[in-house]
Homo-oligomer: 233 residues x 2
DNA sequence: CTTGTTTTTTGGTCTATACCGATATATAAT
DNA sequence: ATTATATATCGGTATAGACCAAAAAACAAG
């Protein structure tokens, strides 16, 4: 247990809130009170509170007290375009399941889109995204193998952009998106729990680094019945 | 000048950086040194530095020093189109601040877009969205008053879609979006901490219920320097 | 010149105390 | 009962000092 005291206190308070010691909207004890309870100075206690405020778990009100904040995921509402936002706006929980994750030879379109050379390999990931338990889309992402050969699987699947930026110094630039419609294949229809031939909304996306190099090619197939993606310009 | 000392120091340091006293990537004097220079305690000086770090203007490196950060907020686009997802993909924390929230007479464009009748009132909300502490966009959302008259403010600002669906039985359908460019007005430039006449990327969005009724009209003004929105079709 | 070790510098954490202004609550006046 | 006022509580700011671990710089050894 070598973490700083204020982090430990942060964790204890957070756990207490999750355990229901104080409910949403309720006031927690004053800083001076908590500081004696935890046997630390008020400034240290304040630091623990501050991190919880930064995380949106607590709210401060001068002269009144510190209160358990309502929710934080709910702040994300307004522009209804993305899967995640739509999902959360409807009060459902987005999740994903990785179908496959392996290195292989690129297809012709992948060679073209990602500007690959002879012999270059790619990392291909397939995943399904869910809203609650309902499958919404099937997604295939392709990345040049040389870009991610040094990274762990979780580094690639969980926060690819951050990992690429921090560990490979690759600055993310623009992205090209194309939207079209198609029919579900047998394979995809099984993944998405629909019938073969059902309507699919297809989103192709090619992401470029700031130097103009394409580094990620994503093809997403949304279930037409369960997702809408409108663009008018 | 009644603002706290640490804010005043924050402003002075920020101004000095903008004036080129220390260039990007360069190290600024040590905290102990600056604290004597400004004649404050080190903790107060630290608080000024901390706010600058939160804003992405400075970066700390233990044992080394504090440096002028390389970039402001990166103009990246990843695999997503929404502000929230974009922000999180860059490892930053999205947040928002409500500027105003009141019922009023609709404008001509609002009457047209939302298909309002004579005498109908609208609820108009203005808010600013941030990535970490940096303002990214200014957003005005208009909703027919009759739709939300029964709801509390937090129900509208925090999870409008969920509330509409659960309490009004309104199923969210499609949304039309238009993207264009314009110049920042004086008012908006102050909100977004930019100059009047700076480039603004404007996104207008009209959201329809599943029965075809328009129910929300959102106009978002993104800071051109801090946000990019690519669409190719 | 290179490599390993020590010293110094720097940010990170923590204490104990103090005063301020905003808010809430108890009290007094009407 | 209502309204004005004083008091207590609360978070916000600020001080002056202390020790720690990471990093850099100075130094020593080969």
């Amino acid at each position: 247990m070598n973490s700083p005291v204020y982090i430990q206190i942060h964790n204890e308070i957070k756990k207490a809130i999750e355990a229901g010691k104080w409910k949403v909207g309720e006031r927690i004890p004053a800083e001076r009170e908590l500081s004696t309870e935890f046997s630390v100075s008020r400034m240290t206690l304040r630091q623990a509170i501050s991190t919880l405020v930064d995380e949106g778990i607590l709210e401060r009100k001068v002269g009144s007290g510190t209160y358990v904040a309502s929710q934080k995921v709910q702040e994300k509402v307004s522009g209804v375009t993305s899967f995640t936002e739509l999902t959360e706006a409807q009060g459902k929980k987005p999740s994903s399941r990785t179908i496959s994750y392996h290195t292989s030879e690129p297809s012709l379109s992948e060679i073209e889109k990602l500007q690959l050379n002879d012999g270059d390999l790619v990392l291909r990931m397939e995943r399904i995204r869910f809203a609650d338990a309902v499958p919404i889309c099937y997604e295939t992402a392709t990345i040049p193998e040389k870009l991610v050969s040094d990274f762990s699987k979780s580094e690639v699947t969980k926060s690819l952009y951050k990992t690429l930026e921090e560990k490979a110094g690759l600055m993310i630039g623009r992205a090209e998106q194309t939207v079209s419609a198609m029919l579900a294949s047998e394979k995809v229809s099984e993944y998405l729990d629909i019938k073969r031939g059902d309507a699919i909304l297809r989103l192709h996306q090619l992401s470029y680094a700031q130097d103009g190099t394409p580094f990620e090619y994503v093809r997403t197939q949304y279930v037409g019945e369960r997702f809408e993606f409108y663009l008018n310009r």
